[in-house]
Structures are given as structure tokens and as C-alpha cells.
């Protein structure tokens, strides 16, 4: 890293790219909405002072308001001409703050029969929003209700709006792997990055007065260990690897099979997290019969998230699955199945943390 690094910046109309780019593919057909990713990240990185309300890895029920509330309407990123779009800075209540509870009073302070265990916000109010507030609520009219789960982290974009927006030059993109980091020793908490990030994945630490976000678990990655959210994911849906590794699952799913698509590509930052879009059970008619061949998630909605490529991606998945049911082979489905973990999920990161000496990074 160097202050003068141009990696990730637009220079003369082109984006300066890192030597290699780490990326993830999330297969939404395997996501359980269990939030093990969120908790893995929380116990790994965000339990320190001022970070209690930060969830670098979240899972949103779609359609929904998400985290922070209404993030898709908050602007940021770049327009088609490459100009920065205006944006909003999400506030603590929109992210969902770390409510406090009255365990001590209830359990040991004599309040057990006079009150009940309850959450309270910093303003001493009952909570009105949280990082997973609209879980499973979904949309549609019964029985044609629908929802799915969308896990989100920092996209470690190829052209990070946050990086371009920081007047301190505190945000940089690593040359060796494209991970985007906020240098906390340079950050002065101006929050322009929060305004610029169209995915609203940057939090403000109100105690330390700095911006903080997903670091792609770079200390783990450096030891050959996949990021916590990916390695701890019991649904086995978070593929991790270098985009240029043509044999790896990321390149295969994104470029060869073209079933993995960026989220809101129109935000203009060239995100490096890709999604296999969700299939869905057919709709049901008034007589209680399935309407063969229909999808209950409106394809139009998926297009609004994943772009026009979603039609082809869904058609590919449906075609390959039909082929498999008929007894055929499918390299695509074998890739998504993941017979051997971790090799099939993150071939470049085969280690578990327990394989690494506890002092690997100690100085």
C-alpha cells in the first residue's frame, strides 16, 4: 500500500486495476438466510468499542428495505457517464443500532416480576428498525407470496466510489488482491465514503469517529484461510477466489457459465461479488393447482437487481437441471454442488485457522 497508489482510480478514462482481484460468488439457491456469515464476522471483527452495531456481512430478505433501511434508494456510485451520483449518508437508526437490554436488572436486580426483558435504543426508545428487521416478510399475495435471501458484504469494487470520494486518501485498493480497505489511522470520519458507496456497506464508528467496513478478512486470506463469512457458511454458497483463475469456480461461474451476476451493476462501481440468481417454485392458481413453468419471483424484479443477464442465467440453470434430471451430466451443477469442501469452494484458501500457528501474524 502506498498513499500514491492509483489502483482503483479512474485515470484518463480507464480504471487502474490491481494485479489480481479477489472475488466471491454467492449462490442464492443455497442461501438459508441463517446469518451464520453475519455472526462469524461479528465474533471475528466487530465486537470492539463503537462497532457493536456494525454488521459487515448481512443477509437481507428480498424484496425488502434491507440494511441500512432503504439503501437502494440512497444513491451513490457513478452514473452511466462515470460521474459520481449524489448519495445519502445512512444514519445509525437506519443501519439498526445495537439495542441494550435489561438482563442484569431482570435476573439479578429484583426486577424479574416487575418488568420484562426488552430492547432499548440509545434514545431510550423501543427499536423501530434493525439490521434484519423485515426478515421473511416478503411480498405477493398468498399463496403467491415470495421472498428470497440476499447476503451482502462490501463489494471490493474495481472502481470503488468510496475510494474516489475520500478527501484524505485514506481508502485504498490492495495491489496484490484488490481488497479495498479504509486506513483507520488516516481516516478522520468525514463520511464521504458512506455517501459515495451505493451499496451502503460502510459504517461509522461513533466512538472512534472513523469509517469501518468489511476487510475481506485479509489477515486470514494472507494465511491461506478463506474469509470467515465464507468458510463458516453452512449452506456452502460463498465461493471465493481470484477472478483471473480460469480453473477456479469464480471464473467458471461468472465468465464461462455466465450464471453469476453483479448486484446493481448500474451503480457503476464494478462490484466483485457475484450472485447466482434464485429460482422459485411455480405460482398457484385459484383452484389450488401449480401453474407449470411459472416462477413466483417476478423475473422483472430479478432484472432490477441483477440486470438483463438474469434471463439467460435462469434459463441456463433450468436447462441444466432438466438435463440432470433426465440423467445427463452437468459441469455447471457439479460446480454448484461442491462435492469436496474447501477445495470446491475456495481452492486457493484450503487452510483452516487451526492449521495456522496462532502467532502467524504476531510481531
Amino acid at each position: 500500500m502506498s498513499e500514491a497508489s492509483l489502483t482503483g482510480r479512474e485515470v484518463n478514462g480507464g480504471i487502474v486495476k490491481p494485479k489480481r482481484q479477489l472475488a466471491m460468488v454467492f449462490d442464492l439457491n443455497k442461501c438459508l438466510g441463517c446469518h451464520t456469515c453475519a455472526i462469524a464476522c461479528k465474533t471475528q471483527w466487530t465486537s470492539r468499542e463503537g462497532m457493536e452495531g456494525q454488521w459487515w456481512a448481512v443477509v437481507n430478505t428480498m424484496p425488502g428495505q434491507g440494511t441500512p433501511r432503504g439503501w437502494e434508494q440512497m444513491g451513490g456510485g457513478f452514473d452511466a457517464a462515470g460521474e459520481a451520483r449524489p448519495g445519502l449518508i445512512p444514519v445509525r437508526e437506519e443501519h439498526g443500532e445495537a439495542w441494550q437490554f435489561n438482563h442484569a436488572q431482570m435476573f439479578f436486580g429484583g426486577e424479574g416480576k416487575h418488568s420484562h426483558l426488552q430492547p432499548v435504543t440509545a434514545r431510550e426508545r423501543p427499536p423501530a428498525w434493525g439490521p434484519n428487521w423485515d426478515e421473511d416478510q416478503g411480498d405477493g399475495t398468498y399463496p403467491n407470496s415470495w421472498h428470497f435471501y440476499l447476503p451482502r458484504i462490501c463489494n471490493h469494487c474495481t472502481h470503488p466510489a468510496c475510494l474516489e470520494a475520500c478527501p484524505r486518501g485514506a481508502i485504498y485498493k490492495r495491489e496484490q488482491d484488490g481488497i479495498v480497505l479504509i486506513d483507520e489511522t488516516r481516516c478522520r470520519g468525514y463520511r464521504m465514503c458512506m455517501e459515495a458507496c451505493p451499496y451502503k456497506r460502510i459504517y461509522f464508528n461513533h466512538v472512534r469517529q472513523i469509517g469501518q467496513k468489511c476487510i475481506f478478512c485479509f489477515p486470514r486470506v494472507e494465511a491461506g484461510v478463506a474469509p470467515a463469512c465464507a468458510r463458516q457458511c453452512p449452506g456452502r454458497l460463498r465461493f471465493v477466489g481470484y477472478l483471473d483463475d480460469e480453473a477456479g469456480p469464480i471464473h467458471q461461474l461468472v465468465h464461462r457459465f455466465r450464471v453469476a451476476l453483479p448486484l446493481h451493476e448500474e451503480y457503476g462501481t464494478q462490484p466483485n461479488v457475484y450472485y447466482v440468481p434464485p429460482l422459485s417454485p411455480p405460482r398457484i392458481d385459484a383452484d389450488g393447482n401449480a401453474i407449470e413453468g411459472s416462477r413466483r419471483i417476478p423475473t422483472e424484479y430479478l432484472r432490477s437487481l441483477f440486470g438483463a443477464g438474469v434471463d439467460e442465467a435462469l434459463a441456463t440453470l433450468e436447462r441444466e437441471m432438466a438435463h440432470r434430471r433426465a440423467g445427463g451430466k452437468s459441469e455447471l451443477l457439479d460446480t454448484l454442488i461442491v462435492y469436496r469442501w474447501p477445495e470446491g469452494m475456495f481452492p486457493d484458501f484450503p487452510n483452516g485457522p487451526a492449521d495456522v500457528p496462532g502467532g502467524f501474524h504476531a510481531r
Binding site: C34, T43, A104, H147, G224
Partner: protein, 961 residues
């Protein structure tokens, strides 16, 4: 490689690093790679540059030691995950899945990484505000949370004295334990069982208590604990998720379902709500609440109408060819045909010879017999000629009631969808059913399970690779269980031998009579049950505090011709059910459960049961509602603070351990140590008080001043013996490949190598091979061993008097009674993704990912009609009681359905009243049946369960809230 050695080598290399700059860094990596073994790859990319801001985060990713562990909590279907626990500066920093399960079958996905978000934050849970750190004694009103800290000695002394008083004055039946759902295979389980055994004090049978007793499976296949492995689903081409929500409750397992789908399986989720498990299905079939039996029977009818049934399978494996007398409706038994004939020998009509044939009760092999499935036949008996007909013919007639139009009217499922699914099941190469323990908790759940089994059986979808149903999945280390009950005068190993010798004559007798090993295990378990080791919980609560609720069945159930109490008295009088103790209840020891949370109608117990106790004592690491209402609370060591081994299920067939990463927090102690110290204190106080004996429940005198000696095998074990006990247990264990405690502790888990003979294991009736998936019940389908039912077959016709009185000889749909009164909404339930029972219900980080407090789910239309907005405080009420909670509006909930996820603690509600306050949970009289070979009480099954699903309620907005 032991961690400390790795560290030492690393420190050496670190010295070189200081001296050599970047050269030192590469040296360090070299040494690490060498130390960690050849199969660990060096890190990718260039070596990290150690300077600047990034080091702040790198420095956080360091630790001092790693220990293998897991969580001994009953997450049941999904249980068993291997974790690495990382310790830094003497406290647990974090945990992460080990992810080192070896592949079994090379053609299927492996088990890695397992785990879930609850297990992933136990490191926070163990240090949070609710952790109990010291023994405390109640000084305020019960439940108020006013305590005085006491020493272990002080606390145990009073508890021991009260137990002694109770034993001497009211007998051992006045002291009851609840081992709860957190029981382990090592110190916890063995300690509690042995402690209770030595004092002759009973344990609650938690399984039927909570409704995991699968009454329909018990009635149909004569057992409940059978299941295949999760990776066996990879061989299915049709998977029915029906009666469960595995995406919530089998988080570590669920990937196998999604991967099976990619492998070509068609996944159908059947549920009233668009659940998380419907999201990834190929088809979701919404069904009206409580009508699943009708849905299954509708499909059965289509299968028979279209001749899609598997006749060979039916003839060999089921009672459908067995003959029933048309005059009495009873099976034609040998005792009908000849003087002194057995009443458990049955008959078919052989179409080859056109004659009556007696079935072989020792084998399912038909030989050359071709049993008739239809027709009426005349048989001569000493009492004259009788007409008989096969069960299949009766079934066919019975199914005439389940035409598609009627089924649609009941279930809401369209005729086209119904027929398509029936044909899919019948024609699938291997259809499997993911059924969990939801139907057990319906008033007519027995029928729902029976009908599901009938459907799968008609299609021969049982006991083949990739096919079958999941009963109560359970698998445990076997061979050591006798430690809990053997004579303390001998070593545990000799004790086991003595018990074996004692049981041998009877086992031989049963064997001679044609019992399989499986049946012999159940006979022994029934004997133990009759001796009072376990108490059928709902009969216990019926007697001690909840009679007016549990006994109110006739008030709601229009099909009952007499009160439940009449059924109950008959069942007691005939010895069909075990009567709970009559003595006053004086001391209740809660050592792993949470009766004042889980018991339906728990709030009545404050004024009845709890009021009458001398002492309510809880051992726990967290403040449960039972702990909060106790007289004494003792601190249990956390799961990373003790050594123990857990039970498992065939779904993930690995035995996992917990091991001590850090010393117990505060003054907490292991569960084993608690029981040992309690027994030790009882012995000591008996000596000090000069009380030598007490009289046990069989009327025999026992030494009270030697109970600890007996408990500890006369000096072999004391309160510090957790490791010695585990060493002995594993030495006696026969189905784990001979692995010892030390090796197991290093590895964290071991795959099961077989079932051996044990109550829960044997029912799986299958072999376990090291390189294959597990398919349940192949001993019956392939080896042709009889099923452990009265007829030795999968039995759909039950000619028990209670079944006949209720008109339920054959699998039947009955409408749910309006339990709770004439109210429009049906409250259903289920387990959440957010907690295992109440263990994580009050954890701040998990609450922050919910709404921070209890919610109930309501459909958008139902909410709109009642003026309820999302997040409103609402009052849910019926004729029983009411409670207040927050409404959450779900578009995917069925109109008229109200969904209450379980295990919120009552103290999370206003007025301490939870959803369990409105459940009457009446007992279905069929579940009092007994005296019928496979319908006799035994641990886990064949005793009455609860019926809280489909409780009728209404909901209204709380004004001004």
C-alpha cells in the same frame, strides 16, 4: 501437532524474522509450513508486508491455543458440529468450525463445514450478562430476581437436607429430576441418571413431554428412532419436505437438500406457510393447517385407483394382507382358530393354494405364499364360521371417503396437483421424506404420521437407498449405558457383565419366542419404565398442577363419548400406562431443562406445583425462567469449560465432544461435579444426622449414608472424575471404532461404526459402512427381519380398544378440535432459526438480528381486518388465557394461521405470560393405549404428548401501546 510445539517453533522463527527483515518473513512461513505438516499449503500470493495500518487487524487475528469442542444442547436434527475454540489471554476469543470431516461415499458431497450462527457465538454467550457465575439463593419473592450469594457448601447442605427429609418422610417419589433436553452421553447424562438411580428418585421423560414422541410412527412401525444419513438424500430423485422446516432447524444439514436438487431431485415442500424451506423447493404445496392426514389419504386413494401401489412390497412388509374378522373387526388370531392358540399370530389368504396361512412371525420372507389383498373368505373356528377380509380391502373401502373433491375441500390442494404428486411418489426411483417433530404436537398428529407412512409404504419408498422417512433421528455411543445403573460394589465393566448375566435368561426366552434383538431391547426398556425410572411427563403434570388443562379433551373433542379421565383410569387399572407417584412433590431438581418455559400451561404451575414444593433447584449456565423461579441456582460450567461427549443422529453420524478450553467461569462446575457433590453432601448429612436408611419405591430399605459411595463405585469416581469417567465410557463403547478419550479429544469427533444394541440405536435397523451413506430400516426391507409391531409388520390396522372406540383402526383424517374455544385463528408453531430451545433466546446479538423481543406472525389480510400494523403490540387470547406480543406481518403466512415460533422465555413478555399460557394441550385418548405389544410405555414413546398446534385464538391490537 500439539499447539504448544507449533508455537515454540514459530517463536524461534520469529527471532530470525527480527534479524532478517523480509528474508525472515519467508523463513517464518517456511518453518510454519514444515511445522503444520505437508498437506497444508503455503499462503497464496506474496508474503504480507508488515507495516502500517493493516497490522492493526493482523494483530487481532492471533491466539494462544486451540481446543476442540461443540455445544451440548439439543439441536437434535442438526446436532453435531466440530468446532475449534480459540483462546487468547485466558478467555475464549472465538470459535470456528473445524471443517475436517473426511468424505464418506466418494460420489456424494461431504459434511463440511456444518455449524450455525448460534454455535458461532457461544463464545459471546458464555460471557454475557445472563451467565450464572456463583451459587445463589432466593431471598425475594419467587421469580423476582433477588438473590443472596452462597457458597457451594452452604447451598448443597440445604438442598441435601431437604432431599433427605423428603426421602425419609414421603419416599423417593417426592424428589423428581428433569434432565432436560441438554443431556449428554458422558458426565451430564451419566451423572444425572446414576444420581437418580442411586436415590431411586424418578426422572421426567422429556421426550413425550415436549411432543417429540412420534405417536404415529410408534403405532405404525413400533418404534420411533430411525433415520438415514443426510447425504443419503443425494440418492433421492424426489424429496418431500412435509412436517418440518429444515432450513430453520437443520442449518448444518440443509446444503445436502439443495445439492440433491442440483443432482436432479425434485423438491416439494408441503406446509401452510411459504416457509424458508419452500424458498428453494421446486414446488410448494400450501395446505390448510392440520389437514395433512387428508392430503396423504387423498394421494393414497389415487395410487390405489390407478394401480400404482407396490404390491410385492406391501405383501411382504405390511399388515395389509392380514385377515380381519368382519364380525368383530379384530384381526383373525391363532387364538380364534384353536384352543390355546397365541393371540399374536396372524393370517393371510394364500391365493396360490386358496387356503388360510399363518404368518411366520420370525421373518418377513413370504416363501411361496401369495397373500390375497382383496376379497372375503370364510374360515372355520371352534365358535363357527367367520368371514375375514384383508386389511388392504378395508383400506380401499375406507379410502373411498378421500376423493379429490373432498380432499380439496379439506386441504385446499387442487386435484391436479394432488394427482401429480401422488404419481410422482409412486413412480420415483427413490422418494424420501424430510419430516420432523411437528405433527407429534397436533391433537390428531398420530394420524398425520400414520397417513404419511402409509403413503410412502404403498409406494415401497421405505428402506432403500435415497428413500424413506425420518422418524426420531438418534444415534449414541453404546455399550456404556450400564454405568448409570450397575452395582457400585463392582467396577463399571464388571457391573455391565453382571447386568448382562441377569438379563440373559429372559433375553433367551424372548429369543425363543421369536423376538428380534430389537424387540428384546424394547422389552427391557419397557420393564425399566414400569419400574418407575422415568415418569411420563404429561401424566405427571396432569396429576401435579395441570389436570384441568390436560384432561379437558372431551370439552373440545366432539368424537369422544366419555371424559379423558375415564380413559385414563382404565389405562391405569389395566396397567396400560404408568401411574405417577401419589406422594406430595417436595424437591424438584432442574438439571438441564426448563420446565417453567417448555410446559404448556406452565403459568399454572406457579400456583400449584411450584407452590407446594419445599425446594426448586436449578443447575444451569444461563438464567432460564425455571432458574429465575428457583430457590437455589447452581452455576454450570459452559460448553468450552468442561469435558463431555454428546449423542448424535444418523443424519450426521459423528460422535462429538466438548473439551475444556478454559477453566469454568466464576465458581461454575461441570454437571457431573454437581451431581457428585450433591450425592456426597447427602451421604455426609445422613451420617451427621444419624439417618442410616430410607425405603425405596419397591418397599426395600436402602442405605442413605452410603449413597455417594454407591454413586462413585466406592471411590472410583468423585466430583473431579469427568475425565476418568469419559475414559471408562469410551473403553466400554462398542460402536466408535475403539477410539479412546485422549484421541477423541484431539480430533473432536469420530464417525460411528455401527449401532450395537441400545434402545435408541437399534431402531435404525441398518448397518453403518465407512464409505457409504446410511439408509434406515434395511434390516427389515433387505434382511427381512420383522418390524417390532404386534403383527411384526408395518401395521396400519390397530385393533386396540381405544383405537376402535375412536373409530381410528385405519389411518384417518379427523378435523382438529377447536382447542381453546370458538375463535377464528389457528395458532401453529415451530422452531426458529434463532435459538435452540431457549438457550440463545436472550442473546443480545441474535436479538438484534430479530426484533429484540417476542413476535407472532400474522398474514397481511388478517392483520388488515383487525387494524393491526407491523410491529404493533397485540393481545392474543382464547377461552384459556391471553398474552401480549408484537405482531409481524408475513405475506407468506396462510390466512387464518397465526405462527408462534417457540422458546421465548416467559420473562421476555409483559406480565411474564408467554404463548404457552393459552395452550390447553389436551391429551388425545389414543395416546393412553397400552397392553398391545408395541403400544406400551417405554422411554421416549408410547406415553401421551402435548397438543399445542392448531390452538384456536383471536388477536387484537393493544390500544395506546
Amino acid at each position: 501437532m500439539p499447539v504448544d510445539l507449533q508455537r515454540r517453533r514459530f517463536v524461534l522463527a520469529g527471532g530470525a524474522a527480527l534479524a532478517g527483515g523480509s528474508l525472515g518473513l519467508s523463513l517464518r512461513q517456511l518453518v510454519w509450513a514444515e511445522a503444520a505438516g505437508a498437506d497444508v499449503l503455503p499462503p497464496p500470493g506474496p508474503a504480507p508486508v508488515y507495516q502500517g495500518f493493516e497490522d492493526l487487524y493482523r494483530a487481532q487475528w492471533t491466539w494462544d491455543s486451540v481446543v476442540k469442542s461443540t455445544h451440548i444442547v439439543n439441536c437434535w436434527y442438526q446436532r453435531g458440529c466440530a468446532w475449534d475454540v480459540f483462546v487468547k489471554d485466558g478467555i475464549v476469543w472465538r470459535e470456528e468450525q473445524s471443517g475436517v470431516y473426511e468424505p464418506t461415499d466418494p460420489a456424494v458431497p461431504d459434511y463440511n463445514p456444518r455449524g450455525c450462527q448460534k454455535g458461532g457465538c457461544y463464545s459471546q454467550r458464555m460471557y454475557d450478562e445472563g451467565r450464572i457465575r456463583y451459587p445463589i439463593k432466593r431471598v425475594g419473592a419467587r421469580g423476582e430476581g433477588r438473590w443472596q450469594r452462597v457458597s457451594w457448601e452452604e447451598g448443597l447442605r440445604e438442598v441435601a437436607d431437604r432431599i433427605i427429609d423428603a426421602l425419609v418422610e414421603d419416599g423417593p417419589g417426592s424428589v423428581v429430576w428433569d434432565g432436560g433436553t441438554a443431556s449428554s452421553g458422558g458426565g451430564h447424562g451419566t451423572g444425572v441418571f446414576r444420581g437418580a438411580h442411586v436415590l431411586d428418585t424418578p426422572l421426567l421423560d422429556v421426550n413425550s413431554d415436549v411432543g417429540d414422541h412420534h405417536p404415529g410412527a410408534q403405532a405404525t412401525v413400533g418404534k420411533i428412532s430411525f433415520s438415514g444419513s443426510m447425504d443419503d438424500f443425494f440418492y433421492s430423485d424426489l424429496i418431500l419436505i412435509w412436517g418440518g422446516n429444515p432450513v430453520f432447524t437443520q442449518i448444518p444439514n440443509a446444503h445436502f437438500l439443495n445439492e440433491a436438487r442440483y443432482n436432479g431431485a425434485h423438491i416439494v415442500t408441503i406446509a401452510p406457510d411459504y416457509s424458508a424451506s419452500a424458498v428453494h423447493a421446486d414446488e410448494w404445496i400450501p395446505v390448510s393447517v392440520g389437514t395433512d392426514a387428508a392430503l396423504a389419504l387423498g394421494m393414497c386413494r389415487i395410487i390405489l385407483d390407478e394401480g400404482l401401489e407396490d404390491r410385492a412390497f406391501i405383501a411382504e412388509q405390511t399388515d395389509l394382507p392380514l385377515l380381519v374378522r368382519t364380525d368383530t373387526g379384530l384381526f383373525l388370531r391363532a387364538s380364534d382358530l384353536e384352543e390355546g392358540g397365541a393371540d399374536d399370530r396372524f393370517h393371510v389368504w394364500d391365493t396360490g393354494s386358496d387356503s388360510l396361512r399363518r404368518c411366520d412371525h420370525r421373518s418377513l420372507v413370504l416363501d411361496r405364499v401369495q397373500p390375497a389383498l382383496e376379497g372375503e373368505y370364510t374360515v372355520a373356528t371352534p365358535g363357527g364360521e367367520v368371514t375375514v377380509t384383508p386389511v388392504f380391502a378395508l383400506l380401499k373401502r375406507h379410502l373411498a371417503d378421500y376423493d379429490a373433491a373432498r380432499v380439496q375441500a379439506i386441504t385446499g390442494v387442487g386435484a391436479r396437483t394432488l394427482a401429480a404428486l401422488a404419481r410422482r411418489i409412486a413412480t420415483a426411483k427413490a422418494a424420501a421424506m424430510v419430516t420432523q417433530s411437528n405433527f407429534s404436537k397436533f391433537y390428531h398428529g398420530l394420524e398425520m404420521e400414520r397417513c404419511q407412512i402409509l403413503l410412502m409404504t404403498l409406494c415401497g419408498q421405505i428402506g432403500r437407498k435415497g428413500s424413506g422417512i425420518v422418524g426420531f433421528p438418534a444415534l449414541s455411543i453404546a455399550g456404556h449405558e450400564t454405568i448409570a445403573v450397575s452395582d457400585g460394589g463392582f467396577s463399571p465393566q464388571i457391573g455391565a457383565l453382571l447386568l448382562q448375566i441377569k438379563n440373559t435368561p429372559r433375553a433367551l426366552q424372548w429369543k425363543m419366542a421369536g423376538h428380534t434383538d430389537e424387540m428384546i431391547v424394547y422389552e427391557l426398556a419397557r420393564e425399566a419404565y414400569r419400574s418407575g425410572a422415568h415418569l411420563p411427563s404429561n401424566l405427571y403434570w396432569y396429576r401435579f398442577g395441570l389436570g384441568s388443562l390436560l384432561g379437558s379433551s372431551a370439552r373440545w373433542d366432539p368424537t369422544m363419548q366419555r371424559e379423558l379421565d375415564a380413559f385414563l383410569q382404565e389405562a391405569y387399572a389395566k396397567g396400560w400406562q404408568i401411574e405417577p407417584p401419589t406422594s406430595r412433590q417436595r424437591v424438584f431438581l432442574e438439571v438441564g431443562g426448563n420446565i417453567l418455559r417448555r410446559t404448556r400451561g406452565y403459568n399454572r404451575l406457579y400456583e400449584t406445583f411450584v407452590q407446594e414444593l419445599d425446594l426448586l433447584v436449578t443447575l444451569d449456565w444461563r438464567m432460564s425462567n425455571t432458574a429465575l423461579h428457583s430457590d437455589y441456582v447452581f452455576p454450570a460450567a459452559g460448553w468450552y469449560e468442561k469435558d463431555d461427549i454428546t449423542w448424535a443422529t444418523p443424519l450426521a453420524p459423528y460422535a462429538h465432544i466438548v473439551s475444556q478450553a478454559v477453566p469454568p467461569l466464576g465458581e461454575s462446575k461441570s454437571d457431573w461435579a454437581f451431581v457428585a457433590l450433591l450425592l456426597k453432601t447427602i451421604q455426609q448429612r445422613a451420617i451427621e444426622r444419624g439417618i442410616r436408611d430410607f425405603v425405596d419405591r419397591a418397599g426395600k430399605s436402602r442405605r442413605l449414608d452410603e449413597v455417594f459411595d454407591e454413586f462413585g463405585f466406592h471411590g472410583r469416581y468423585d466430583e473431579h472424575s469427568d475425565q476418568q469417567l469419559l475414559t471408562d465410557i469410551l473403553e466400554m463403547t462398542t460402536n466408535l471404532g475403539g477410539i479412546g478419550w485422549e484421541e477423541l479429544k484431539r480430533k473432536g469427533f469420530a464417525r460411528y461404526t455401527g449401532l450395537d444394541i441400545s434402545l435408541i440405536n437399534t431402531a435404525n435397523a441398518t448397518d453403518i459402512a465407512p464409505d457409504a451413506t446410511i439408509t434406515a430400516n434395511t434390516w427389515h426391507t433387505e434382511k427381512k427381519l420383522p418390524w417390532p409391531t404386534l403383527t411384526r409388520r408395518i401395521q396400519f390396522y390397530i385393533d386396540h380398544p381405544f383405537f376402535m372406540e375412536q373409530g381410528e383402526q385405519l389411518p384417518t383424517h379427523k378435523d382438529s378440535p377447536a382447542i381453546g374455544g370458538d375463535h377464528p385463528l389457528r395458532m401453529t408453531g415451530g422452531h426458529t432459526r434463532w435459538s435452540i430451545h431457549a438457550s440463545w433466546r436472550d442473546h443480545p446479538n441474535l436479538l438484534r438480528l430479530q426484533r429484540g423481543e417476542p413476535t407472532i406472525f400474522i398474514n397481511s389480510d388478517d392483520a388488515r381486518q383487525r387494524g393491526i400494523a407491523d410491529g404493533d403490540l397485540v393481545r392474543v387470547f382464547n377461552d384459556i388465557d391471553s398474552f401480549e406480543t408484537r405482531a409481524m406481518i408475513l405475506s407468506g403466512l396462510r390466512p387464518g394461521q397465526l405462527m408462534q415460533h417457540h422458546a421465548w422465555e416467559p420473562y421476555q413478555y409483559r406480565d411474564g405470560k408467554s404463548y404457552a399460557a393459552v395452550t390447553a394441550s389436551p391429551i388425545n385418548p389414543l395416546q393412553l393405549a397400552g397392553g398391545y405389544f408395541h403400544l406400551q410405555p417405554l422411554p421416549l414413546a408410547a406415553t401421551p404428548g402435548p397438543s399445542d398446534r392448531d390452538t384456536r385464538v383471536e388477536v387484537e391490537r393493544v390500544e395506546g401501546a
